[in-house]
Amino acid sequence: MTIAIRFAGISKQYGTFQALNDVSFNVAEGDFFALLGPNGAGKTTLISILGGLTHASCGEVTVMGHDVQRDYRQARRAVGIVPQELVFDPFFTVRETLQFQSGYFGLRSNDDWIDEILANLGLSEKADTNMRALSGGMKRRVMVAQALVHRPPVIVLDEPTAGVDVALRQTLWAFIRRLNTDGHTIVLTTHYLEEAEELCNRIAMLKQGRLIALEEKHQLMNRGRSRSLLLKLSSDTLPESLQGKLIGRTDDGYLELKLPDCSALEQILATLGNAGISVRDIQISKPDLEDIFLEMMQTPAPSLS
């Protein structure tokens, strides 16, 4: 497994504020990687260090084996970053913006690829429109295009779908997914946890500048709270033997019971049947990434690094 990005012992101090505290992890080539954490956790700082916009106070970052400081030319060629803030140059059209961006990366005639990116992001018709005249969502698409002009093996998207409508989100993800299938490594930070849950295969969580989780998605999902069983019953009181499993009651009259695994379900139903209680409705809830995320952010977990 080749390493696409290696963060080794990254710390960043702004005055007395410790934005990142000894963060180390790797992103493998071909990963679709999610970097999660609440606002102020250090995600954007970490990405800025990766892109050379910010210097780490200590530690090392490499992209495709190139150190972002010593070997900055190769490192920057290997990565395309979509910044979080909506930024653009009001002097130029979409096409000019992308041609300049190609030129900065040393690419002279890049129009075929630019056209392909424009088409994939639904921007073809806006190619000759001035950046000022675009809507926020369209500007966001151009920012994604700018990160892709030099066909970087590693693509980093810092909250690319913030303030973006559903249609674009889907176009964007279809395109990014395709790039991932073609072998690009994708790193994503997002506030929409369902996006991370749906798209990513590995997940890291940052909290107050520390790495608190780094796992394959399915492992992380299994780590969360066990499933729970929601029952609407003919009687309000549970049989004695089931009292211990009761977690709570919902406002609409469901009883919530612990369900460590599916085999427990049969036993619960049998107990209810023996007690002469009939089941009016039944639901099984599975923890999603959001529950796991909230749980991890609330409990003080030991740092992984």
């Binding site: 892109g51 050379g52 916009l53 930024v87 140059d89 130029f92 300049f100 030129g103 030099h150």
Partner: protein
């Protein structure tokens, strides 16, 4: 080279797309100066023997406009990019600080030279100065525009708000260019102000430039070349150092 060339071209296009404001307007302003000062003073003042005031004023005005526009180009480009945030698109690509430096400086020099030439051509309507030593003219035009372009980079990087940039421009650049002998020969000043003028590097740029036209000047052109050349070298070293360190650009 493509990286440098692209950034250079972008910087040119940036001012050219608003050339009414960046090229035509300063030319017009200079012509207004020329119209007023020449009209009032032409009959009364003869700065050098045999040189009419209007002819004397033209190179100085052209150079002052050139200097101010070279400064304006780098400084306003950088502060705008910093404030709007699109500077990240220059910082993320693999551009070296040398490429960054040369692209910004050369584009600003080009704007300065274009505006200066514009002023000069338009001013020919009022008076035709002589061209004693064209190479001196060229040398000081290049050194002057480069110096101000570099000062503009420093100001643009240092300033965090338009307000701070305006302070740099109004409290440093304007006095330096205005009090450099654009409108008068420093020989006509009292001794004290002559001394003060000789401490102003911009005085040497204007004086040397004017020497190229008339073959007479307040200071020796070689002294002017020495002073302005050394200033330019020191500024270049300082600016490159700032850019290499990422001062106020990379945190």
């Amino acid at each position: 080279m493509t990286g440098f060339y692209t950034l250079f071209y972008k910087e040119i296009l940036r001012f050219w797309k608003v050339s009414f404001q960046t090229v035509a307007a300063p030319v017009l302003t200079s012509l207004l100066y020329l119209l007023v000062f020449a009209h009032v003073l032409d009959a009364h003042v003869e700065p050098y023997p045999g040189v009419r005031y209007t002819a004397f004023l033209i190179p100085g005005l052209a150079m002052m406009t050139l200097l101010q526009n070279a400064f304006a180009n780098t400084s306003s480009s950088l502060i705008q990019s910093k404030i709007t945030g699109n500077i990240v698109y220059i910082l993320l690509p693999p551009l070296s600080h040398l490429e960054f430096f040369s692209a910004y400086v050369l584009a600003a020099m080009l704007r300065g030279l274009m505006v200066g030439t514009g002023v000069f051509i338009a001013a020919l309507y009022f008076a035709i100065p002589s061209f004693a030593y064209p190479l001196w003219i060229l040398a000081f035009a290049l050194i002057g525009s480069a110096t101000m372009a570099m000062l503009g980079i420093i100001a643009g990087i240092w300033a965090e708000k338009f307000d701070q940039l305006a302070a740099f421009q109004n409290f440093l650049i304007m006095p330096l260019t205005f009090l450099s002998g654009v409108f008068y020969s420093v020989h006509s000043l009292p001794a004290f102000w002559q001394q003060v003028s000789h401490a102003n590097p911009v005085f040497y740029i204007i004086d040397g430039f004017r020497y190229g036209f008339f073959g007479v000047s307040d200071a020796s052109p070689w002294l002017s070349l020495g002073v302005t050349g050394s200033c330019a070298v020191v500024l270049a070293a300082g600016t490159l150092r700032l850019l290499a360190s990422g001062y106020k650009l990379r945190h």
